[in-house]
């Protein structure tokens, strides 16, 4: 067990290195609402928020519900000269399902539906026991690491802006109306943005460790401070 404020320059215990510039910092337990930034490059090192885990879990469930709506309701509808067409989110992904454009369908399904769902599930899996002060589930560590690694590849918000651009492009050509899936998707973006704002990776790593994943015996428990 490592007590707060002590560090060891030979083993690195009690220290934190900035992931962007490698500057060393002495580890300290933060109060909720505090933000730790790198002294050199100003990168956020940790920003714990009160009740963050419960909120992230709630937001993840919300995003799953909205995603079900976004997938199964009609997305956009177009009409012109008596001809009409409507498409769902799946329809959009399947636009590339001809011939050798096929792999792009998989990439599209993954980046706008699969990865957002997977990330929500992984976050709930990691944080659910932590928010109830129980030891984390098995493989919580690789689950959370996977969730962080997939973050840049989950592109739901880019897709919504893409929708806006596509609508401007065909706006003069035909009448467009939005289906419920479109609004569900817009809601999803807000929910995901809120969830990301509450997520502080460093804090979650600390919490996984404090909750009893056997790692390296270096975790600082809040009792020591008192």
């Amino acid at each position: 067990m490592q007590s707060e404020g002590t560090y060891d320059l030979t083993t690195g215990a009690g220290l934190i290195a900035c992931p962007r510039c490698d500057a060393l910092h002495i580890e300290r337990e933060l109060e909720p609402g505090e933000t730790a930034r790198c002294i050199r490059c100003n990168t956020v090192l940790a920003s714990p928020r009160a009740g963050a885990f419960t909120r992230i879990i709630a937001l993840s469930f919300t995003s799953l519900v909205l995603m079900v709506g976004a997938v199964f309701f009609p997305f956009l509808e177009i009409s012109r000269m008596g001809f009409g067409n409507q498409t769902s989110l799946f329809g959009v992904a399947l636009a590339f399902s001809h011939g050798w454009l096929m792999p792009l369908t998989v990439a599209l399904l993954g980046s706008i539906i699969g990865l957002p769902v997977l990330r929500a599930v992984l976050l709930v899996y990691t944080l659910w026991p932590l928010s109830r002060r129980r030891p984390p589930y098995a493989h919580a560590v690789p689950a959370f690491r996977l969730s962080e690694a997939l973050r840049p590849w989950s592109m739901a918000e880019i897709f919504v802006i893409g929708t806006a651009l596509a609508l401007v492009k065909v706006g003069g050509l035909a009448n467009i109306s939005f289906g419920p899936a479109f609004w569900a998707f817009c809601g999803l973006i807000v929910v995901n943005a809120a969830s990301n704002a509450f997520t502080s990776a460093a804090t979650i790593w600390d919490a996984i460790e404090d909750a009893g994943v056997a790692t390296d015996g270096r975790e600082m428990t809040p009792e020591i401070r008192a």
Binding site: C21, A107, G162, L165, A201, A202
Partner: protein, 215 residues
Amino acid sequence: MSTHDGPILTAHRAGLVGCRSCGRVWPEGEAICQRCGAELLPPDRRCLNAVWAWLVAGFIFYIPANMFPMLKTSTLGGIKGSSESTILGGVVDLMHYGNYGVAAIVFIASIIVPIAKFVSISWLALVAGRPATVSAAHKRLHLYEVVEFIGRWSMIDVFVVAILSALVQLGFVASIHPGPAAVSFALSVAFTMLSAQSFDPRLIWRGLPLRSRKD
């Protein structure tokens, strides 16, 4: 801004290696972070091989993305003509119709941004680890953060093609189909993202003198 003027000890100079995933510090030579399981890599120029490899792959796929059509449009059963438009052709068409705003967005997102990304990553990789002043290092990190942030947004063009092809299927009146450029553009964006992710921003700070010249 909390700028620190004194000399700063880095994990590398202390003979330690920091985990880029969770921040924990380990003695040099450890391979795996025991807290989060991520691979521990010292900040050296070896990562640049991967940066260059992904960047070249991204650039190679960017060439057919500009040569082949992105969209195939046919109006009124082909009577009013069916057209195949490349990225640049699409921009020219939009300007023809007077949609200067959209034309500008497409031009910036599909042509300026990808080329700026290729140039920025190449420059960052070329100067990585070379001596720099503190303010130059801050500028480089800022550039890297912009490239990292903006990289995924280039995918917007592929999404627009998918939405248009799924939506505009009005049989005789008008129909839009995706062209082969969509795939190579998507691959180009993905490879450039991987290139930016392979770059280790800690290299930017490697070249700084241990003490500032004043002392």
